[in-house]
């Protein structure tokens, strides 16, 4: 094994120059695909992520439909060229688990009862993978769902914290993830600070965990601003371009965004 690099210096500066509680650069664009009902493209550090939403639509296969509510199905997929060694196409155990917990996270915020027997199908593609792909995916999916006009209690912000060189830090980069001591991916409802996705492995004291959670909640609010901004830019364009023909549909979307704001 290669030697562990020094991930954080005595002044708390990280390999890429970030401070402990600093996120990597994050940009989001909403409505990037033509065919999907909603979509979003996200770059976060070196992650490149595309999310597409279809629905609410008739649930297939039918026996999976729920008589009283919609099913949210998120499929997380890594493109074969998104990582150093080619990933074989198709779901593996890791992506199956991420798809499951991400679907559960969004089921907590979508108003499922409005769409009995339906499915809301979300496909999120990691086109290029840096660390933190699952929270990047989750953050993009939230915007794509809003772009599709799916009514939600709130957007969700995905964010991770971890520990490197004994220090609790936010949003691990690739080397930090490989050589660090803990990683805690989260999905947070920004306004209420509720936790809807939480995974962890590594080694943390209860105190370190609590410290990290505080950083993550603060970061979730930052991320939320970037998400809302993406949606506002999208609908600023939309209003001009689409007002006439897509009026009714757009109104619903606007409302969703309003609620968030």
């Amino acid at each position: 094994m290669a030697e562990t690099p020094k991930l954080i210096d005595s002044k708390g500066k990280r390999l890429d120059g970030r401070k402990a509680n600093e996120l990597r650069p994050l940009t989001i664009e909403a409505g990037t695909l033509k065919r999907a009902d909603g979509s979003a493209y996200l770059e976060w550090g070196n992650n490149k992520v595309m999310a597409a939403v279809y629905g609410p639509r008739e649930c297939h296969p039918r026996h999976m439909a729920h008589p009283a509510r919609a099913l949210v199905r998120v499929t997380y997929n890594m493109a074969s060229f998104s990582v150093g060694d080619r990933k074989r196409p198709g779901p593996d155990r890791r992506s199956t688990e991420i798809s499951k917990v991400t679907s559960e996270a969004f089921a907590s915020v979508v108003f499922l009862e409005q769409f009995p027997r339906s499915s809301i199908d979300v496909f999120v593609e990691i086109l290029q993978a840096d660390a933190g792909t699952r929270v990047a995916a989750l953050t993009a999916v939230a915007v794509a769902l809003a772009d599709a006009g799916i009514p939600m209690k709130s957007l969700l912000a995905g964010v991770a914290f971890g520990k490197i060189g004994g220090t609790v830090v936010l949003d691990l980069g690739k080397d930090e993830d490989n050589y660090g001591e803990a990683d805690v991916p989260l999905a947070i409802i920004p306004r209420t600070e509720e936790i809807v996705l939480l995974q962890m492995d590594g080694d943390l004291t209860a105190k370190e965990f609590q410290k990290g959670m505080k950083m993550a909640i603060a970061a979730a609010k930052e991320i939320y601003e970037v998400q809302k901004d993406a949606l506002k830019r999208r609908y600023a364009v939309s209003v001009e371009a689409l007002e006439a023909e897509e009026g009714a549909e757009e109104e619903l979307k606007e409302e969703t965004v309003e609620e968030e704001a």
């Binding site: 499951k100 559960e104 907590s108 600070e193 936790i195 809807v196 939480l198 492995d201 080694d203 965990f209």
Partner: protein
């Protein structure tokens, strides 16, 4: 119909909870009786059968010779597989592992791996060519709730019971016990309404809003976590479950060590 029954159960469970009680008579922070039988299967290199209340499962550890991963040529390979066998529940189906089985295997794996319970770097034989593959197979016999904890307990107990078949399978040296360096213990809580229930039974699991599993080590450090289901936790609730996991983990660790 099933929905209606669940709603009635839910109301009943929540009313009891207000009085700090549960339908099977336990306290909210009390786990079900745990029995651990190490060495249940002679054909495995290690094994344990665990009953957690009526949840009944077996873990068999098999050690085979195989190839290492390209990026860790000198290390053995640890593989955790869970099979939700269809005899264990009317809701389990035949076929390749579905997401719940995969999640179970990965959460049990995470607890073992993040603590280096087994030091795989000592399971190499010829670098790049031949290493020990350590299969931890979780086989569910009867499903009455909380497979994450029962699976973790049985996996740990089976590893503590494992013999490296140096003589038997490799033909070099003597069979020797596998060294188990840590004892990660998983404790799972369900949230129903505003109440936290430790070690949810099947009835509780079915109506739970959210689930949180916390794995702690012998120092009380957090080593793995997994939140599930469609509800949410507040930060305070998460911290409460962490504290309970640390406390209950100690008892369970003792029970497994003494089995």
């Amino acid at each position: 119909m099933v929905e209606v029954v669940h709603e009635l159960t839910r109301t009943h469970i929540q009313r009891l909870a207000e009085m700090g009680k549960r339908i099977d008579g336990r306290d909210l922070e009390e786990h079900r009786p745990l029995t651990v039988e190490k060495g249940y299967i002679e054909s495995a290199e290690g094994s344990a059968r665990v009953h957690l209340g009526a949840t009944d499962l077996l873990v068999g550890v098999k050690m085979e010779l195989g190839s290492p991963y390209a990026d860790r040529p000198e290390s053995g390979v640890l593989i955790v597989v869970a099979e939700l066998r269809p005899g264990a529940s009317p809701t389990f189906e035949l076929g390749p592992p579905k997401p719940p089985a995969i999640e179970l295997a990965r959460v049990v794996d995470r607890g073992i791996r993040s603590t280096d319970t087994v030091d795989v770097s000592k399971l190499g034989i010829e670098p790049g060519e031949k290493v020990w593959l350590l299969f931890v197979d979780i086989h569910i016999l009867d499903y009455e709730g909380n497979l994450f904890d029962a699976g973790n307990y049985a996996a740990l107990a089976a590893l503590m019971n494992t013999t490296i078949p140096n003589a038997t399978k490799l033909g070099e040296g003597k069979d020797a016990p596998l060294e188990v360096k840590h004892q990660p213990i998983s404790v799972t809580a369900a949230k129903i309404g505003e109440t936290i229930f430790i070690d949810p039974s099947l009835e509780e699991e079915r109506i739970a809003d959210a689930r949180l599993t916390v794995v702690t080590d012998e120092k009380g450090h957090i080593r793995a976590m997994q939140k599930g289901l469609t509800g949410s936790f507040t930060v305070d609730e998460v911290n409460q479950v962490v504290a309970l996991s640390q406390k209950i983990g100690k008892e369970i660790r003792k029970t497994i060590a003494e089995a």
